[in-house]
């Protein structure tokens, strides 16, 4: 945490969110520094998505309390690419941005889809669609990137490629990132810090100090994974 000390992009204090009197988030405290990559792990129903939706401002009708500070520019990547099927790829990337076609093209080139500007989303593979969604998020130069299991629907090989791409893009654009995932390895490979949510509370935190080349055969990697799995209640 040292390089980020004192600066915050996201500040969450005692966040509570309730559905039908059941607290899905039960007093969450979280800080994310500028440029920091945080992965959020948790079982199904632990409140991961609720936390992300709260940060994205997508839950105005949900009952809750707490303090929430998020930057002006927030981008969200969903599990589905959520491209408008009736808009061509480039129009999807620059959706709602006026006069930024050139930036949209550059953004598509960054995710390796130069030349596909005029394709329909339906003509792309699942991985390509998700890359367009990344381009759509990053062309807005977000200070905070929220990603809700963005690679969950992709096959294992495509997912590995997307990990490399996401690391490259984050290095280039330096947004603070909150990545929701249930894949422990994905979290360790990508994040600077991994936090674990259980029953609406943060129950564990691991600062990953493995350097840039992270390998699952590294004993340190295995140790971190064992601790995280333990926090998730998985015993091997």
């Amino acid at each position: 945490m040292a390089p980020y000390a004192g600066l915050v992009t996201v500040q969450v204090r005692d966040l509570v969110r309730k559905y039908d009197d059941r607290a899905v988030l039960d007093g969450v405290d979280l800080e994310i520094a500028p440029g920091e990559f945080v992965a959020l792990l948790g079982k199904s129903g632990s409140g991961k998505s609720t936390l992300l939706r709260a940060l994205a401002g997508l839950d105005p009708e949900v009952v809750g309390s707490g303090e929430l500070v998020v930057p002006q520019q927030v981008s969200v990547v969903f599990q589905d690419s959520r491209l408008l099927p009736w808009a061509r790829v480039l129009d999807n990337v620059v959706l709602g941005l006026r006069g930024s076609e050139q930036r949209g093209r550059e953004s598509l080139a960054e995710v390796g889809l130069a030349g596909r500007e005029d394709a329909w989303p339906n003509e792309l593979s699942g991985g390509e669609q998700q890359r367009v969604a990344l381009a759509r998020s990053l062309v807005r130069e977000p200070e905070l990137l929220l990603a809700d299991e963005p690679f969950g629907a992709l096959d294992a090989l495509t997912r590995l490629k997307m990990h490399a791409l996401l690391r490259k893009l984050c290095a280039a654009h330096q947004p603070a990132v909150l990545l929701v995932t249930h894949d422990v390895d994905e979290a360790i490979v990508l994040a600077d810090r991994v936090i674990v949510l259980d029953a609406g509370r943060l129950v564990a935190e691991e600062v990953i100090s493995l350097g840039l080349e992270r390998s699952a055969v590294d004993p340190e990697f295995a140790a971190v994974r064992a601790r995280l799995l333990d926090a998730l209640g998985v015993t091997l």
Partner: protein, 278 residues
Amino acid sequence: MTTTTLPGVRAAVRRTPAVRRRRLGPGKPIKFGAAIGPLLLLVIWSIGSATGWIDQRVLSAPWTVVSTAGELIADGRLQSNLWTSSQRALLGLGLGIVLGVVLALISGLSRLGEAVLDGPIQIKRAIPSLALLPLLILWLGIGESMKVVTILLGVFVPIYIHTHNGLRTIDSRYVELAQTVGLSQREFIRRVVLPGALPGFLLGLRFAVTGAWLSLVVVEQINATSGIGYMMELARTYGQTDIIIVGLVLYGALGLLSDAGVRLIQRRALSWRRTLAS
């Protein structure tokens, strides 16, 4: 080892075609498929007339109809009546489309609008517009405005129903997306709502177009002094089945052509869709 396993593998490969896979989609499109049905009808009609199986007094032969149409074109009656009818239909259709879309937008985008508008429109839907004709004649007389309004009333309902349905079935995930990328209300309507409702609108348009010609028939047979319906009504008085058939064929051709037109628009405008039919 390899030599002994290979023949077995080959046999298995050869056996697979025997297991016929049922294809679930409708298959490849047939060339000029839309023309096959109408042509078949024409063939049956021709054979029936030529063999005397169809009485000339009941139904004129296709060639009689063609020569009558030729005469009607030569003395200009067909064109002028067709022109009058087309004007009525297009005017009613145009106004009906505008009304239907505006009402669908109001009722689709606001709960209050839906509460106020949807009920009355559903009630109107249950009343055939032709049943309103006596009232419309009392209100508007027997002039052009009565005719156009009758067509309009028949047209706006399918446009409204299908556009409204298209609007309401837009995936809420896209609404969420629009929020996260910060679309304004206007951009949201332009980028998400209208294109999302377009398939529904175009389906409604197909119903509306045929509906417009349908209403036309009725209004033109009541107190009209021009139009295809009037021409047919006059022919009835003189027992000229051939002219009646020319009118019928004309109505049918117009309906078919306009439907084909809308389908063409549909294919162009919805080229992003991959469906069972493509």
